[in-house]
Symmetry: C2
Subunit: 152 residues, 2 copies
Amino acid sequence: MRAHELWNRGLHGRGYRLTIPRKAILEVLSNSDDHLSAEDIYIMVHGLYPTIGLTTVYRTLDLLVQMGVVYKFDFGDGRARYELMDHFSKKAHHHHLICTSCKTIIDYDDFLDEELDLIHKTENALSNRHNFEIKGHTMQFYGLCDKCSKRF
Amino acid sequence: MRAHELWNRGLHGRGYRLTIPRKAILEVLSNSDDHLSAEDIYIMVHGLYPTIGLTTVYRTLDLLVQMGVVYKFDFGDGRARYELMDHFSKKAHHHHLICTSCKTIIDYDDFLDEELDLIHKTENALSNRHNFEIKGHTMQFYGLCDKCSKRF
DNA sequence: CTAACTGCAAATTCTTTGCATTAGT
DNA sequence: ACTAATGCAAAGAATTTGCAGTTAG
C-alpha cells in the first residue's frame, strides 16, 4: 500500500520510528473517506488497540500533517478534521461547499472539466514562482444553502 | 459603505439590533486587510471603546459569519482568523500557499488570468446545481516551501 | 416597555505538556 | 543499549455560557 510505504520511508528519513499506534492510525485514515476528527480517529483506533491513547493520536496526526501525508481542516466547528492528502487518497480533490449558517458541508466532486485543468496549471505556476513542492490543495465555497437562504 | 448598509439590513431582518459594539467591530474589520484573530479585533475595538469585552467580540463574529459577512479561517495555529467576505473586501480573493512543515503562509494574488474566470464559472455552476447562494470562496495549496523541502 | 444585548467570571472543550515507563532498531 | 515513543494525568488556551444589569427600537 502506497501511503504506508512512503510514510515508513519518511519516518526513517527523519529518525522517527514505525510503531503499532502509527501504523494503526494511518490504517484508519486510509480506510475512510470522511473528515475525521481526532476523537473519531481515537475511537476507531482504540477499537483495534485499546491501549492507544488520545495523546498519541494527536501526536501522530501532527507528524502526518508536517510530513504532508494528511490535511488538517477546520470547518469552524471548533474541532479539526483530518483526511489523507490527494496523492494517497482515493479522492483526488477536496472541494467543499459550506453553508455558513447551518454549517452543512457538501463534498462536491462533480467538477467542471476546466476546473481540474486549471488547478494543475495553477499548481505548476505556483510551484515555479514560489519554489514550493506542492502536495495538495483545497477549495471551499461559502454561502447560504437553500433552506437558510429562504429563512430570511 | 456597502458592508455596513447590508449588515444593518440583515440584522433588522432577523430581529437583531444594531449596537455600538457591533458597529465598531465591523468598522475594524472593514479597515483591515489582514487575517485578524478574535483577540486582535478585541484589542483594536477596545482601543476605541474600552467598555467592549472579548465575549461580545466572539458573539458578534459568530453573527457575522452566520450572516455570510465575514470568513472564519483556521490555519492550524489554534486560533481562528476573521476577514471580510469577498464582496465587502478590498481584496476579492483569498488564495493561500501553505507550508505544512514550518506553517509559512503565502497570501498570493498574482493569479493566472484563467483562474479568476474559472472561479466565477464554478461558482455559477455550483450555485445552480446545489441551490446555494454563494458569497465567497477560498483556495489553498499545501506543500513544502523551499527551505523545508531541502531539509529532507 | 420589552426583548435583545452586554460584560464579567466561571465553565467547557479541544489540544498540548511533563514525566516515568515501554519498546523500536 | 540508546532514544524515541507512549499513556496518563495535569496544564493550557481559545471559545462559550450563565446571569444580572443595560440599552436599542
